[in-house]
Symmetry: C2
């Protein structure tokens, strides 16, 4: 069984929202699994001196237009939430808690979080807001809220963030195929080609 | 006859080097011409507060790896020149001088400049170095050097740069299809799709 594709992302990343709807299918084409790995993009921004796209002159206007264009092309709903970006600590910690007991459910939860924030524009900063989304998948809200404050899952998220930075993940999404790094949603076609060719 | 595709680029942009080898073929597929429009990327960097990729932490290492990977994939030579980036005023002014008299020759010259700098690693900052490349295409060196100091072509380049910024071109390459902006070499497939679909 080949190694899983590592999909690093932040739940507040619009490009990760689009990529999250494609990565599993691309991997499956090549008999690969995807290991979803939320991390804190803010830590990468500190390391690179970057700011959220919407706060960057010229780039922000382009990004807004590009997100709407990608949504139309992929037939996905997309709204730029009133509060953007947000700190996604609660969602990411809840994800690692879930992944430890039920990885498929954790992946479904991740997609649900993206759909809540960028599909419906709901603020999912608070643990209770994350729990409300999880409840639609049958995830017990009280346990989920508790997990977002549990040192075990706090540490797990910090490890993932430190590892992402150590491996050069400066943006979201950031995909590794057998160690080869691919930055961005618009490199998923190259990920597909790379998997077909076995690299080049 | 539909409007030409506008291809804004800086001669010192590695991603523009790769895109320059594809843009004409993509346009031709759709019965379009390409208007090559060199501009000064440094002016855009001033507007956005960006730095050359090679000077950015994490992003620089990724870019170097990505350029080598793109070169292998496209079967193109690529070297990161010892002096990088360079100010490409002379090449850009010479281009506009040539384009005014012979656009096909100007486009061939543009490709030649890219191949000299990124294919062979030759420093093409100086007007004489630009003229040496032009000479291989039969372009008179003395006239070319004179054009790089001619207020007419200085003004033409400044206009192109001002227009690029006014229209939101914060990077290189930056392609406009009927006013729709596409940033980067890795959006050329989307440019192709956009032309096929007539937008979406």
């Amino acid at each position: 069984m080949p190694a899983p594709i590592e999909f690093f992302f932040d739940f507040a990343s619009p490009y990760a929202y689009f990529a999250a709807h494609r990565i599993d299918a691309i991997a499956a084409k090549h008999g690969r699994e995807v290991e979803w790995r939320p991390f804190m993009l803010g830590a990468a921004f500190k390391a690179t001196g970057m700011m959220p796209l919407t706060e960057q002159p010229l780039r922000g206007d382009y990004a807004r237009r590009d997100w709407d264009r990608l949504a139309r092309r992929m037939n996905l709903p997309f709204v730029l939430p009133e509060r953007f970006p947000i700190v996604t600590l609660a969602a990411a910690r809840a994800f690692y808690w879930l992944a430890d007991r039920d990885r498929p459910l954790a992946n479904a939860f991740a997609l649900r979080m993206f759909q809540a924030y960028f599909g419906a524009g709901r603020d999912v900063t608070a643990p209770e807001a994350v729990a409300a989304e999880g409840a639609t998948l049958g995830i017990p809200a009280t346990e989920l809220v508790a997990a977002t404050a549990d040192p075990v899952w706090k540490a797990k998220l910090k490890e993932a963030t430190d590892e992402a930075l150590r491996r050069g993940a400066f943006g979201s999404p950031f995909t590794f195929v057998d160690g080869e790094p691919f930055w961005g949603n618009d490199r998923l076609d190259m990920v597909d080609d790379w998997l077909s060719a076995g690299g080049w």
